[in-house]
């Protein structure tokens, strides 16, 4: 404690208490509203279910576009949404299911989508390109390889789950 007693004037004291009480009331009022507003950011993302999308023997070494639908729950709105993947067998016999969503700005890529680049995925929005294994071609806009769908094979049927970035595989 300092020797000089610090004088708090009546006006200062009132200022402090009023600011404190006012701040407390304001915070009590705003806290639920802010929590309410930021709720979507705090929701845990649902683990994507695996869906049967194709028979394994239909899959070749050439990427084919496979579409399937999932039941999407968007808050109070439920609907069926079509998902797509480019699926093929790699040289060692594994199945690779690539997400068609371009890693540049989210447009949709197509296998052999450009006449000029026959063995590549092509994005028409900004001419982004990927090699067959989904790795982005250097010096085109995308900065990362295409996402890969989690997959499993049961009784000759291919099931696909969520698309995850390469690093997380």
């Amino acid at each position: 404690m300092s020797e000089k007693r610090k004088q708090v004037s009546r006006r200062q004291f009132l200022n402090y208490t009023l600011t404190g009480v006012g701040g407390f009331m304001g915070a009590a009022m705003l806290a639920p509203m802010v929590r309410f507003a930021i709720d979507p950011a705090l929701q845990t993302s649902a683990q994507g279910d695996f869906k049967a999308v194709a028979q394994v023997d239909e899959i070749t070494t050439e990427p084919q576009r496979i579409d399937w639908t999932i039941d999407q729950v968007d808050a109070w709105y439920e609907s069926e949404v079509t998902k797509s993947a480019w699926v093929y067998k790699t040289e060692d016999g594994d199945i690779l299911a690539l997400s068609p969503v371009c890693k540049h700005l989210g447009c949709v890529v197509t296998w052999q989508g450009s006449e000029e680049y026959q063995d590549q995925f092509f994005c028409p929005c900004h001419d982004g390109r990927y090699y067959k294994d989904g790795v982005n071609v250097p010096n085109t806009p995308p900065a990362a390889a295409l996402d890969v769908f989690q997959h499993k094979v049961e009784d000759g049927t291919l099931y696909l789950g969520k698309a995850v970035p390469r690093e997380e595989l």
Partner: protein, 224 residues
């Protein structure tokens, strides 16, 4: 830090007189509950304003989830009540606040009436106050429909029938309010929503500004 930012702005645009003008005014002794406890009756106007601020804020946040559409209105309200964190609290604030604001307005009006505070030179402010009261009732009425449940629907049905009862212009009024001569439905809901969140609040803000400017200009009425 804050002081520095304040000084920087103040040096350039001289904002101190602006807020000083609002903040510095003496509270007369007869209005101060510390001197006469019965002076608490002077708080009702301020409380009305305080609850109005809560209404505006909670309403703004509710529109983040609410949809004014007959298919989704009820579902979105149900969703925000049951799935969103603190949804019950935020909607509860808006729901109960709507009643509290009317009660506070009424008490404020009673105080002004029985103290004769509406007399010259404050007649104009009384009139603006009455308009604010009507706007508030309008907000309560239009907001009541928005959850689109049975209570909301039939309350609005009754309101529209009452409006229709007005001689000569009744039918036109009803059609204008409901958006359709026959149906209480999609267009009624969007209209009530637009009136509830845009038209009436705009009117309310204008009227409140006039109300507050006048009370500062004329000062609070003297002791009884």
């Amino acid at each position: 830090m804050l002081q520095k930012i304040y000084d920087w702005i103040d040096e350039r645009v001289d904002i101190t007189p602006l807020w000083r003008d609002i903040a510095d005014h003496e509270v007369p002794e007869h209005v101060n509950p510390a001197h006469h406890f019965s002076a608490f009756v002077y708080c009702f106007g301020g409380l009305t304003f305080f609850v109005t601020v809560i209404q505006v804020l909670s309403g703004m946040f509710l529109t983040m989830y609410y949809v004014p559409d007959i298919e989704n209105a009820w579902k979105s309200v149900y969703y925000l009540q049951t799935e969103v964190a603190h949804g019950q609290i935020v909607r509860g604030m808006h729901h109960w606040g709507a009643s509290v604001v009317i009660v506070m307005l009424f008490l404020h009006t009673l105080r002004v009436f029985f103290q004769g505070a509406y007399k010259k030179p404050r007649e104009l402010n009384w009139m603006v106050g009455v308009l604010i009261f009507f706007v508030m009732l309008g907000l309560g009425l239009t907001g009541y429909l928005l959850p689109w449940d049975n209570k909301a629907y039939f309350a609005t049905q009754v309101t529209l029938e009452i409006a229709e009862g007005v001689p000569f212009i009744g039918e036109a009024t009803k059609t204008l309010l409901a958006g359709d001569p026959e149906i209480v439905g999609a267009q009624t809901l969007t209209r009530f929503f637009a009136i509830h969140v845009f038209f009436l609040p705009a009117a309310l803000f204008g009227l409140m500004a006039a109300h507050f400017i006048m009370i500062r200009k004329q000062g609070i009425s003297g002791p009884l």
